[in-house]
């Protein structure tokens, strides 16, 4: 048992959402951070080498679901040493770690970046798009604050030709020095013989000025499935400002669609987090998605009325919840 640490996040919130005439009122899971249950450990192999494992599963605390019914977050074995980290299994792609440049740290309920990445069908966000199956992941040590993160995900298409279609690739370059964190991330989905590769990149940065941390990112998504020939852009900027014992989080972002402004989406958030302790945080926030006349990015309330999609409305979302880490 001493070989295993059981850990996780229990996060639930009360949420109210509105989209056109649709309203949502209810209790949801994973507002500030993805609810999870994990098992991890490491073994010293000598000579500075370690064996590591992580088994981490998605939870839906509001539902009648089991451990990982909604899937696994990470499942890998790895070796770590002076050379860096080499892991095999389901693992985070570099895109997951762009939550460092997000004023809400990748909150599924409150992040404009995640809302806009979903609208653009981008994989670079701190959500499920950046968890790769069948993956080999290498992470370098830090060289004066600079580190490299590379991952390859095999699609395991079991055919005599076009076997690399839907393979995925991720490359991340990160820099961390004192108050500054910055990163360049690249992710690609192989199109194989049938279509162009989906290519994405993001440049993100965060700087802690003391009175506030300012964060932002710019990303491009090219040749998303179903949108070949288009290159969409997402920009977002935000700040985290200490206020009393807690923090105010504010962010604004825009999806600038290649197809024209009718396809643009804007999103902004105002949130407050209050740490009751190191492990327990209360949070509340309001997020709005401002849809173009031909988009329908919503969060809590559905964008369908009587089975038909409704376009161009504001999606308003208010949440109040608690996150407990263990």
């Amino acid at each position: 048992q001493s070989n295993v640490t059981v850990y996780g996040v229990a996060d639930t919130y009360f949420g109210y959402g509105k989209y056109d005439d649709n309203k949502f009122t209810g209790v949801n899971s994973s507002g500030l951070s993805g609810a999870r249950l994990g098992f991890k450990g490491s073994e010293d192999l000598g000579n500075g080498l370690k064996a590591l494992f992580t088994l981490e599963y998605t939870l839906s605390l509001d539902k009648n679901e089991g451990v990982g019914t909604g899937g696994a977050r990470q499942q890998f074995v790895a070796l770590q040493g002076g050379f860096g980290f080499l892991g095999l299994g389901r693992q985070y792609a570099p895109g997951y770690f762009v939550n460092k440049y997000d004023a809400t740290a990748g909150s599924s309920a409150l992040s404009p970046q995640i809302q806009l990445a979903k609208a653009a069908k981008a994989t670079i966000d701190a959500g499920s798009g950046s968890r790769f199956d069948n993956a080999i992941n290498y992470k370098s040590p830090s060289f004066g604050g600079l580190s490299v993160n590379a991952i390859y995900s095999f699609n395991e298409t079991n055919q005599d030709d076009d076997r690399r279609s839907n393979d995925k690739l991720g490359l991340g370059l990160e820099y961390k020095n004192g108050p500054l964190a910055a990163g360049l991330t690249f992710q690609q989905i192989e199109g194989g013989d049938d279509r162009d590769d989906q290519k994405e990149w993001m440049l993100g940065a965060a700087y802690d000025f003391g009175v506030a941390t300012v964060l932002g990112s710019y990303q491009q998504v090219k040749d998303v499935i179903g949108k070949a020939g288009n290159t969409d852009k997402i920009v977002q900027i935000g700040a985290v400002v200490p206020a009393g014992s807690g923090k105010v989080h504010v962010a604004w972002g825009k999806l600038d669609a290649d197809q024209g402004s009718d396809y643009d989406v804007k999103s902004w958030v105002l949130a407050y987090t209050y740490p009751m302790s190191k492990r327990t945080t209360l949070y509340t926030g309001f997020l709005r998605n401002d849809n173009g006349s031909l988009t329908k990015q919503t969060n809590l309330a559905s964008n369908k009325i009587d089975g038909a999609d409704v376009f161009g409305e504001d999606s308003d979302n208010f949440v109040v919840g608690v996150r407990h880490t263990f």
Copy 2:
């Protein structure tokens, strides 16, 4: 790891059941208590306040199933303090705790109350009907033995109207003083625009006379889905009598159906539990459901022969098993 307690119940039994010509012989899970695996913990927040979490999953020890493939029992985060308990997530409704007034303590294999509640489609029993998704639960502290338990479950119907259909509500008033435990429980399923609300209440009590504990309950179920306009009644009474190192459990109950005696069901049990230790209990018992000519409440053996329902037969059930808590 010190933040998490791993706990659970491993309960399996050999069972023999008979219903008309149908016979069942096999190994089942969860005879005395629902098999489960859980993870829980608490954190002291100061000022008498605590943060709590519980993640508890259903197991089927006889089957090729995972942790919570059959669902979750409880998944919540809560704050507890002088004000009481306030939880968010999937939680027990007050109806779950009526096992206190049941001589078998809510045994899924041996409780007449559970058999009759199933026959009446009541949600007030110590089974899955009293686990509410998307719930906000408040439990008061004890005021001289008296406490209140209130829960609201959001259906999360995501529409522009009739959004509260299938929301659920539970209210419990409990009294505990020395040898006496008593409780009044109310549960309701919102009918919305389409049908009447399903309304249920139960009055239960248990008294420990020393030589025996006598337990019983009376409950009503009104406007169950598919039976609008009817109010069914369930009465059950039982006793737990110390015998040697173990205990004899006996109970009898009756579903008194509004539609007439053809729809009545009677159920009784005789069981014996023997504690091998504080954590390990051997148990055996015989339960019979005595069906009215138009009912078919059975437990181990199926009530279908060649695909057709068979009505009005006795359901005989014999079990012998072991429950291990950890």
Copy 3:
């Protein structure tokens, strides 16, 4: 928490497979040992008696799956004492333990015995065929190295007749003395009224000569479903030879089909395992299945091209991976 030990195996590998024109390249789970997460414990009941429980779930480290989405390995409660072991639940049949006579110890990626047992649809192998639901299992103590293992699995067919169809039975006789291990295993699937019982037996042995351990087995499979009237035979032999800090594993086996040599399959393996520590092992190996003109036993690469089965080709499989136990 002190009542529960959390344990498991995290095993992933990179694999390359080829079958005719089909090629597989990817990351898989469970090369050397089945990846798993388990929870177990025991309680001293006095008088030399113990209560035990084991809850052990299949993991797929390469996939987006939860704990036991792929099923449970074992889930049981048991009593153990001078009389032996008596368990109720999902448990290993004796056939699981024939990995003791396999030079790869029952590696799913590298064992000729497992490949040939799959080709013959035998249940006697260290895989899922030897995990029985709804089972009562008795294991005797060792009498001078000799022990008995008996299991009965109820199918729980819930009918008025032919209820024992698909019940399963297993009997194992094992002998262990110094360098010698040997065992006779018998397993049966009840055919009921509709077909003959599927009957299997295996005689296996291993002897540690110091410079090498030699292992082998002979088994028969009679009246497999869909092959009534046939008795197929599997023979396999192998050796484990210490080499440097690691071990070389070599094995060869043949399925001798009753229907003639067109239905035969041969399989061989050459593998190397290197222990980085007691708990972490690197492994690599090459396994080939040599199919008869009418068989198609493959491992990593699919045996279908454009949806049609391809027969009679070699299945070549190369793996390199890491197993970490915790």
